[in-house]
Symmetry: C2
Subunit: 193 residues, 2 copies
């Protein structure tokens, strides 16, 4: 049985699409309502504010990422395998949910963050901790060199997250090929020789 998309889900999906295309701030509630084929005021039946829209999108996005990350981090594989699996899962997730991740990663940076972003930033920190933990394990078991987990983690996440800036599903390279190459580059980069 196929689940029909409710208005609320449609609202989040279309909003993310527009936020990605024009930016959160440059997208008006009128833009969103037009794209949905309803009046602007009707949107407020589903959410309390435009910021709520962004918050719901970001929470949903980070939940997907953390869930996938924990699955890998808590598996019984050795660090090298875990890191490779994490890279593949991360890249696939971003490429298959470009609107969600582009918006979340793009807006996540703002210092204006005030209180509203606390939740999202906390989730991002949780994911970073997972990544650093795997690198630390690899160092402890002697397969990775003695690199700073923090700096190596930033290097890896930057390398991976940047993909939302250029990836297009219609491009030539397959997601799996890109992910395998990058896992290979990073692993060889920190592996003990």
């Amino acid at each position: 049985m196929v689940q029909k998309e409710g208005t609320k889900e449609q609202l989040l999906r279309v909003s993310a699409e527009l936020f990605r295309k024009k930016g959160y701030r440059a997208t008006s509630m009128r833009d969103i309502s037009r794209a949905l084929g309803i009046k602007t005021s009707s949107i407020y039946y589903y959410i309390n504010s435009k910021e709520d829209l962004l918050r719901e999108i970001s929470v949903k996005t980070m939940n997907m990422l953390i869930k996938a990350g924990e699955k890998v981090a808590f598996s019984p594989s050795p660090p090298e395998q875990k890191l490779k699996q994490l890279v593949i899962s991360h890249v696939r997730l971003l490429c298959e949910n470009l609107d969600l991740f582009t918006v979340t990663l793009h807006e996540l940076t703002r210092t204006n963050a005030s209180s509203f972003w606390k939740e999202i930033v906390g989730m991002r920190d949780r994911y970073e901790t997972l990544v650093r933990g795997i690198i630390r394990n690899g160092k402890e078991s002697g397969v990775f060199r003695n690199v700073s987990e923090k700096m190596a983690g930033f290097a890896l996440l930057g390398m991976l997250n940047w993909i939302v800036r250029w990836y297009s599903p219609s491009g030539g390279k397959s997601i799996e090929d890109i992910a395998r190459l990058w896992a290979d580059i990073f692993l060889n980069g920190i592996k003990e020789r």
Copy 2:
């Protein structure tokens, strides 16, 4: 003799500072004029529009990057040395001009780009070409593995550019240490064994 900062330079500097902190779109001309201590209308003596402000900031930024990139790419060093030098120069440039680069890199993504961004996108492409060229040279001379220049280039630039998202001058790590570690990781990642 110390060059005094003119109002125009001050305008660009303060604008970049605010754009970085709040985002281009969320920063109003009133915010900028307040920070400058002049009236909003006075800003228009120096520029034609808010978009012009962003364009001038971005052109200035990309010029710095390209100049540094060409200096490295056109040097007589072997590919391995060039890549290491490029990483160091790139990281240092971003960290020493955080406002300029954060704003430019952040806004550069927008699809809304229309005509105005053509110039900036062209400059970014020129820099990417430099990076890919060095990687290709390394492959040709057998020191780098047979990786896609495009994919490896994106990996490297993502890794480097991401630094604007977390770097703070007050942090513990020195710019040189970070750059050397990353050059090391990436070079070992693509080096022929």
